[in-house]
């Protein structure tokens, strides 16, 4: 096929890895399709930007991450190109830039995870398993801490050191269900926002439980005060942030898939950075000058571009669509 053994094998590995990621993205698509009426809206979840605390910046940071990864791909191609001309110092320079770009990307992804796990507003999970969030009468999101009452309760986290020694439980949320319910009662302006997406169909327009004036097409439904009170009475758990079982943004599967797919991708970026560092050291040592070709740089370049390619698809299907 006109390529060396190593390059051919790298291409075959890329094909199999691409199909693995396609499998994951297809599973994501299937689950999202199944719960399409209840899936969280990405613009509302990913709104943080570093050093700009409290600013609502939907999508900007993930766009910057995409740009950084594309740029690191460009520096990688330039490194490969310099390798073809046997210019050792140039290869080293561009490879270093690629490594730095990769590290910035992984760091950024870790920061996004941190924000995602910490959560922002908090939510309630009802006995039926759906997530309800809170808005004020203008439709603006309200945090649990802005209205929850602090009651004199004595519930402590059951750790192995303070209870039965062979059992424990995950850490408790900041507010208990009773505190949120009491707070909701004390603030008559608050309304509940459900997981369900409002569509301008005749059926939705006739729904008496929806607060008139606050429901927009393709946004989540806001209920009337009476319907909200019924929902809050059905509360089962307070959900803050996200883990693999549940999350405050909506469907349980949303956080699960987010962690799994971006985690898998992040792992590939990280391993790519490690491999790039090894090759970078070899370039500095002059291994490829002695070998009279820089094909190794080309091979790791293929892997790096594959990682970029996967990110382009993950970015589209998670954040844009």
């Amino acid at each position: 096929m006109g390529a060396s053994y190593g390059k051919l094998m790298m291409w075959f590995f890329i094909v199999s890895d691409a199909l693995t990621f396609s499998g994951f993205l297809a599973a994501y698509g299937f689950s999202r399709f199944k719960f399409i009426d209840n899936w969280p809206i990405a613009d509302e979840v990913f709104t943080h930007f570093p050093f700009m605390h409290g600013v609502d910046a939907p999508m900007y940071y993930v766009a910057l991450m995409t740009f950084i990864l594309i740029f690191s791909s460009v520096t990688m191609v330039l490194a490969v190109d310099a390798g073809h001309q046997m210019k050792q110092k140039k290869v080293a320079f561009y490879l270093l830039l690629t490594i730095i770009g990769g590290l910035i990307f992984v760091g950024s992804q870790a920061w996004e995870w941190k924000n995602f796990i910490k959560g922002e507003y908090g939510a309630i999970e009802t006995k039926g398993g759906s997530i309800i969030q809170f808005v004020d009468k203008t439709g603006k999101r309200v945090k649990l801490e802005e209205f929850a009452v602090v009651l004199p309760e004595e519930r402590e986290q059951h750790k192995r050191s303070n209870g039965i020694w062979f059992q424990d439980e995950p850490s408790l949320p900041t507010y208990s269900v009773a505190e949120v319910q009491a707070g909701f009662k004390a603030h008559p302006d608050l309304l509940v926002r459900t997981e369900k997406i409002y569509r301008d169909t005749a059926e939705d327009k006739a729904n008496k439980d929806l607060q008139p004036g606050l429901n927009k097409n393709k946004h989540r439904e806001v209920l009337t005060r009476e319907a909200s009170e019924a929902m809050v009475a059905n509360a089962h758990l307070v959900v803050e942030g996200a883990n693999l079982q549940r999350n405050e943004y909506g469907s349980k599967l949303f956080a699960d898939f987010f962690f799994f797919i971006t985690g898998f991708h992040g792992f590939h970026v990280f391993s790519g950075v490690v491999i790039n560092i090894i090759i970078y050291l070899n370039v500095l040592l002059g291994t490829y000058e002695r070998r009279k070709n820089y094909e190794m740089v080309e091979k790791v370049g293929l892997y790096w571009h594959f990682v970029d390619l996967v990110w382009v698809f993950v970015f589209t299907f998670f954040y844009l669509v």
Binding site: M1, G2, G29, F33, F35, D43, F67, S73, D81, H305
Partner: protein
Amino acid sequence: MSHSHEHVSNTSRIWKVFILLSIVTIVEVALGIVRPELLFNNNFLGMNLLNWVFIILTLYKAYYIVWAFMHMEGEKSSLRWAVVATVIFLVLYLVFILLVEGNYVYGVFKNSTIKWNF
């Protein structure tokens, strides 16, 4: 593109492709933030036009990354086809299964009393 790419520097083409990819990304992000009503609220084959734009732009970027950055344009056509044909065929098949079965499962949940089982 000459076959003896050993000594010819392609730097200018690389930067051109980079500018192209950056512009496409910026357009995608801008559309994602603004979400213009005209595209968001109109459907074609069951998906809104905005999503179609995203997917087409993404495929366009993917093409350029594979063709120019992974230097597929410099490889022999047998290697090219071995990689591209396999992936595209299998991905299309997977997407077909996903859409057909997903549609069925959506129908089951919409018309029954089960709201959640996995």
